[in-house]
């Protein structure tokens, strides 16, 4: 019996960027109806490879076969004509346009808007992806936005669907629903190329996995027969060290108290906080979970001092009302913070590491003398951070933007931790960071808490929060749930809270 031709076959794909070889002789075979995982750390070349398949980039060398025929994919429209659809990690959606308009933009022959809306309703019904074509995208939750992307692909009747980190923004329940949709598509013969670094879900979903490291294929396997640990070790190429959980210490005095914090914003895309109360005690790590866009950015801004709060008493640092204080005054009270955006908020991309060290360290480390910068001390401070946190860089003169995401994040977190803060607020500490750096960052945060500081971690990564936190609370539509001790809760329970299943006063602005 002759086997049917492969859906897609890549041979010797090579792509070089200035200064790096993103794909080096990559081979990949995708069969009809299979769910194929593409695994690898950040910078392993996954994104480059799928951009080549989708026609966004062109390979310098190598061959692409589609259904057994040599082919050339000139651009995304060409890929769509072949039957390749892609759901991007950072959604390619347009906030001020409607769902139907967004979908229309991704189609080559959209036809009249009314007919398109009807087709959207029909397809979203068939695959259990409920969507209203007339709504504006900025009103949608992140999960709904992803449905827009998926429906856009499905309308083109794809033979290959590429999913780039699709669950990083979903609650566990939404992810389960997505998997059902994907399995159904695969059963209908559609091939799915699934990119993720969440190993458990790859084990649950995928039939085959190809592992990339440093731009090369380093192996392929059946993920159902591997453990998460063995997959991770294939990805990073060495043994993985996971930080062990410290036994719950005696929590000390409250370092950060938030009482009835509500915010209002001019920005229509913002999620206002509604009567948020919690406290973080010395020696403990409080984790705040939630799907992106539920008020995390607003909470970060209100805590860091970037946005002032009308009632000073609603944010108290070390017992002192601080809502009216700016970031500098709050730092002097003992607060340190690491924002979610590394480049632009956490560090100035064009400045050197020692200048970036100076930016937040100048007050608590004596780096400034009578108004003048003490560059010698700034340099040695930067070097201390680089040494203590194993930051891979060619020295303190390196520009912040020249570092990889993981190394820059280690530097920023190190910059704050070495100032010995009594209270540290961190947003998404390991977002887009490779597994090795993530483990180092987790260890540093745990050590900081063990040394008596209070740590608040705001993250969308539940696995991370379960590793780090003593207690977990959930943000939903600007409301904060009660916190629960980590060892008395489960991913499922937190997942339900992330979907809004907790008691909060009715909102005026809820849909």
């Amino acid at each position: 019996m002759s086997s049917p031709p492969h859906r897609l076959e890549l041979r010797g794909i090579t792509k070089r960027f200035p200064g790096c070889l993103a794909n080096d002789q990559v081979d990949l075979v995708l069969r009809p109806g299979e769910i194929h995982a593409l695994l690898g750390e950040n910078g392993a070349g996954k994104s480059t490879l799928v951009k080549i398949i989708y026609g966004v980039l062109h390979a310098d060398a190598g061959r692409i076969q589609w259904n057994g025929q040599d082919t050339h994919i000139p651009d995304p429209a060409g890929a769509r004509r072949l039957g390749i659809g892609m759901v991007f990690q950072h959604f390619s959606l347009f906030d001020t346009l409607t769902v139907a308009e967004n979908i229309s933009l991704g189609l080559d022959q959209p036809g009249p808007m009314d007919a398109l809306s009807a087709r959207i309703a029909e397809v979203s019904e068939r695959y259990g992806l409920s969507l209203d074509p007339r709504r504006h995208v900025h009103n949608l939750s992140v999960g709904e936005r992803q449905r827009v992307e998926i429906v856009r692909c499905l309308l083109q009747d794809p033979k290959l669907l590429i999913m780039d980190e699709p669950t990083s923004v979903l609650t566990p329940q939404e992810a389960t629903r997505l998997f059902e949709t994907l399995r159904r598509l695969a059963a209908e013969g559609c091939t799915i190329l699934y990119i993720s670094h969440k190993l458990e879900e790859i084990r649950a979903l995928c039939d085959t996995a190809t592992v990339l490291r440093g731009g090369r294929v380093v192996g392929s396997c059946d993920p159902r027969r591997e453990t998460a640990r063995s997959l991770a070790e294939m990805m990073i190429g060495t043994e993985l060290s996971t930080p062990e959980r410290l036994p719950q210490g005696e929590a000390g005095a409250a370092k950060l108290q938030v009482r009835h914090l509500s915010t209002t914003s001019d920005n229509p895309f913002a999620t206002n906080l509604k009567d948020v109360s919690f406290e973080v005690r010395a020696g403990e790590i409080l984790g705040i979970a939630g799907v992106a866009g539920n008020g995390q950015a607003e909470l970060m801004a209100a805590l860091s001092g970037e946005a002032l709060v009308p009632d000073p008493a609603s944010v108290a640092i070390e017992g002192r009302p601080s809502g009216h204080l700016g970031p500098r005054e709050r730092r002097l009270l003992g607060l340190a913070f690491v924002p979610e955006e590394r480049l632009g908020r956490g560090a100035v991309p064009e400045l050197s590491l020692s200048e970036n060290a100076l930016l937040s360290g100048y007050a608590r480390e004596p780096l400034v003398r009578s108004g003048l910068v003490h560059f010698g001390r700034a340099r040695s401070y930067a070097e201390r951070i680089i040494g203590a946190f194993n930051v891979v860089t060619h020295g303190h003169r390196a520009e912040a933007r020249s570092l990889s995401g993981g190394n820059l994040q280690k530097f920023i977190i190190g910059r704050e931790i070495l100032q010995k803060p009594r209270l540290l607020v961190v947003g998404q500490p390991t977002w887009g960071v490779d597994a090795g750096a993530a483990a180092a960052i987790h260890r540093a945060l745990i050590d900081l808490a063990r040394s008596g500081a209070a740590v608040l971690v705001i993250s969308q990564d539940l696995d991370e929060l379960f590793v780090l936190s003593d207690r977990i609370a959930v943000l939903f539509h600007g409301h904060l749930s009660e916190s629960r001790p980590t060892h008395h809760t489960s991913v499922e329970e937190i997942g339900l809270l992330m979907g809004g299943l907790f008691n909060h006063p009715p909102d005026e602005d809820e849909e």
């Binding site: 993103a22 966004v56 429209a77 769509r80 390619s92 347009f94 346009l97 933009l105």
Partner: protein, 310 residues
């Protein structure tokens, strides 16, 4: 008919004419900004359009050719801006300011030989019966073709942006250029075409000033209308209909203060000449206090450099 009522007709007609150059320039800039490009060179493009249109009309004796030349000159200036900002990735704000300064100087240079030269009037519409209607006849049915063209451009631009696929693509490019690129749209080409359209409209507005409204050439003839057009686009929250209202307001106050000057009331004329600008800015600020509305309508990629890389 009372004397007051008799005044309304000419005032209305003059107001529509005074609003026309602003309408051209602002509608053009609106399309440019909706595509995500901020071109601050409107004033310069208007001036170059005004002088080129005037020069061609004087040489050829055809005001139609003059208008075409004005539009072409504006588009030429815009092409310069587009090449610098879209292909060479220059900063849009700095390039736009430079374009205005360049336009001021260039128009003065070209216009040296044309100062004080008279030009034939542009023919006005005459529909027997309708144009003779009392009060509104002259205002509604007795204008130059360009006045109607500018008015027709308001629904046309709205229709293009909100009812056609090309308009949808243009808005998408202005909203999120990275996503539009990922979907396979030619961001740079779309923006370049929008910039050319904006330049042609500005040039047309300038040519209307020198050929029709004044009609003569004088240095700095646009006297800041390009800047008002820019402000109008933002404060109208990128909506063509609101641009029209803003342009009428400016035109109305311009004409009203001229009449006040004519009545010989003892107010320094410089103060009165400031009024249209002042009134436009104040009213626009008042109606645009709703920050949320601006955020919802502002093209999110406005003024950001697009570099199509990995």
């Amino acid at each position: 008919m009372s004397a007051e009522l008799a005044l309304i007709g000419p005032i209305l007609a003059a107001m529509l004419a005074a609003a026309t150059p602003l309408l051209f320039a602002a509608l053009g800039e609106l399309v440019v900004e909706k595509s995500g490009v901020l071109n601050l060179g409107v004033e310069g493009m208007m001036l170059v359009g005004a002088v080129c249109g005037f020069a061609v009309a004087v040489q050829t004796g055809s005001s139609t050719l003059g208008f075409v030349a004005g539009a072409a000159a504006g588009a030429g200036m815009a092409a310069l801006f587009g090449v610098l900002t879209l292909f060479l990735l220059a900063n849009q704000v700095a390039t736009g300011l430079a374009l205005t300064l360049f336009g001021v100087g260039l128009s003065a240079l070209i216009g040296q030989g044309f100062v004080g030269i008279p030009i034939a009037d542009v023919p006005e519409l005459y529909i027997p019966g309708l144009t003779d209607l009392p009060v509104i006849g002259k205002a509604l049915f007795g204008q130059d073709a360009l006045v109607y063209l500018a008015l027709a451009a308001v629904p046309a631009v709205h229709w293009f942006l909100y009812a056609t696929r090309k308009g949808l693509i243009l808005r998408a490019v202005g909203e999120n250029h990275a996503a539009a690129h990922a979907l396979g749209y030619k961001v740079i080409r779309i923006r370049f075409l929008a910039v050319l359209f904006g330049g042609a409209m500005s040039g047309m507005g300038g040519a209307f000033l020198s050929l029709d409204y004044t009609p003569m050439w004088a240095e700095g003839i646009s006297s800041g209308r390009g800047w008002i057009a820019l402000a109008l686009v933002v404060f109208a929250t990128w909506k063509p209909g609101r641009v029209l209202l803003g342009a009428w307001l400016f035109g109305g106050v311009t004409i009203a203060q001229l009449h006040v000057q004519g009545l010989g009331i003892d107010i320094p004329s410089q103060l009165l000449s400031m009024l249209p600008y002042l009134a436009t800015v104040i009213v626009l600020v008042v109606i645009s206090r709703d920050v949320a509305r601006i955020r919802l309508n502002a093209p999110a990629s406005l003024g950001k450099v697009f570099h199509p890389d990995a």
